[in-house]
């Protein structure tokens, strides 16, 4: 799974728009608006975040490749013990990437990472 991708979100929203009205449409409208917000932020914010993540992962892994390739390699290296997630450089990358993803997916989510809220 690499999703839901923005294409899947578009498909879900357009499917709902094309469907028959239901009593729950008030709720669905909010969910759809949320999905559109995610898509918009992914289009505007994520390209720069992704490029920065690629650069960080290349440095950590000593490899080149696209985001998915490097991300898979990093996950596998953490899993097999080749890379220690507690290494400050690795942990800093995980934090930055997680915060960048959150900025796309749920910018209003309150959390304690980086002492943002606590």
């Amino acid at each position: 799974m690499r999703g839901p991708t923005k294409e899947e979100l578009v498909r879900a929203v357009s499917g709902w728009l094309a469907g028959e009205p239901t009593p729950a449409d008030g709720f669905h409208r909010k969910v759809a608006a949320n999905a559109m917000g995610i898509i918009e932020r992914e289009l505007t914010l994520w390209p720069a975040s992704e490029a920065a993540a690629i650069a960080r992962m290349s440095a950590i892994l000593g490899e080149t490749g696209d985001y998915d390739t490097l991300n898979d390699a990093l996950a596998e290296a953490i899993r097999n013990g080749g890379i220690d997630a507690n290494d400050p450089k690795v942990f800093a990358h995980l934090k930055q990437t997680a915060l960048d993803m959150l900025a796309v997916d749920q910018p209003r989510y309150r959390h304690a990472l980086n002492g943002a809220d606590q």
């Binding site: 799974m1 690499r2 999703g3 839901p4 899947e8 979100l9 498909r11 879900a12 929203v13 499917g15 709902w16 669905h28 969910v31 759809a32 949320n34 999905a35 995610i38 998915d68 991300n71 898979d72 990093l74 996950a75 596998e76 953490i78 899993r79 997630a85 507690n86 942990f91 995980l94 934090k95 990437t97 997680a98 915060l99 993803m101 959150l102 796309v104 997916d105 749920q106 989510y109 309150r110 959390h111 304690a112 990472l113 809220d117 606590q118």
Partner: protein, 328 residues
């Protein structure tokens, strides 16, 4: 269904002569919850019917207990003094309702956001943390011998189970892998298994604005395990509804919870142990969001909600990193 309940009316209230107000409440595809009233000389008795539906199991994210076993766990918790919706009838085959039980309908609010942040609930928040601690101590003190064949799920079992689902339902994710390493490295010493509620969180607590906790709901995930599992799950940031600085459900500090627990004789639980189970709980919620998204990805559901929930993984990963960082 109304006819079947009508026939049971005399058994559900003293002098019960009929039922009214039957209404389906929210519920999963397979587990139904109905509200209804029994008419009796003393007035209306407000009740809840929990029932396994006839439909196929559309989605089972967890192994839910069979309702007759859930009813017995509920009765045991009630006997131990935990606030619960009182068991009125454990339905048998003769009742014609299938797998079902009936409990009293308890007044109060379950919406987590209101309980954590609503102005009206400020008095409840003053006492709720302590009440949850007291209640958990009572649940965890229930005699395990008296429990009907509940599954023992120790920390390693829980980790393995959710790790397995994650590997089957997601591509590799560095933060999830890091969390698995962390959990394995911080596995606490085993404890004697106790009755664990399994879904004790803001959202499954019935709360009155002025008096606090009135009932603990949703016992279908009860099992035997580490009591700290209930503490950790209650602290997961996703159930704090934006009130992140109140670690316990967005309504109380951990110290209040632990103080209430101790006051009723609960064995001391370390902050590290709570944190461990909070990491496990956050990992588990991450996996559940993946599973819910899977119902969209596989075409089983076309709902926008099911697609979007996959993006809640980001919040879990941020929370996992915050917990891991705080532990170092």
């Amino acid at each position: 269904m109304a006819q079947r309940l009508e026939a049971l009316a005399p058994l559900l209230a003293e002098g019960g002569r009929g039922i009214g107000g039957l209404k389906r409440l929210t519920g999963g595809a397979s587990l139904e919850t109905w509200a209804f009233d029994v008419e009796s000389p003393d007035g209306l008795r407000a009740l809840i019917l929990r029932r396994r539906g006839d439909g196929e199991e559309a989605e089972v994210f967890e192994t839910s207990l069979p309702l007759p076993i859930e009813a017995r766990v509920l009765a045991a918790a009630q006997a131990a003094g935990a606030p619960v919706a009182e068991l009125v009838r454990d339905c048998g085959p003769g009742d014609g309702l299938g797998e079902a039980y009936i409990v009293t309908r308890v007044a109060g609010e379950t919406l987590g956001r209101r309980i954590a942040a609503g102005t009206a609930f400020a008095p409840a928040r003053e006492v709720l943390g302590r009440q949850c601690g007291e209640t958990l101590a009572r649940i965890h003190a229930v005699s395990v011998e008296a429990m009907p064949d509940l599954e023992v799920q120790n920390a390693q079992d829980v980790i393995d189970r959710y790790a397995d689902i994650y590997r089957k339902s997601s591509g590799p994710r560095p933060v999830m892998e890091a969390a698995l390493k962390w959990m394995q490295a911080n596995l606490p010493e085993a404890v004697t298994p106790r009755l664990v509620h399994g879904d004790f969180r803001n959202g499954n607590l019935m709360v009155e604005a002025d008096t606090g906790l009135t009932a603990v709901l949703d016992w279908e995930l009860a099992h035997l395990g580490d009591p700290a599992e209930d503490f950790g799950w209650l602290c997961v940031n996703s159930w704090r509804f934006g009130v992140t600085d109140k670690r316990v459900g967005g309504f109380a500090d951990l110290a209040d919870l632990l103080a209430g627990y101790k006051a009723v004789g609960g064995e001391a639980v370390s902050v590290e142990r709570v944190r461990f189970w909070e990491v496990v709980g956050t990992f588990k919620w991450a996996v559940i969001t993946m599973m819910m998204y899977q119902t969209f990805a596989t075409g089983a559901s076309a709902s926008v909600e099911r697609a979007v929930i996959g993006r809640r993984l980001s919040e879990c990963e941020v929370d996992l990193l915050a917990l891991m960082e705080g532990a170092n």
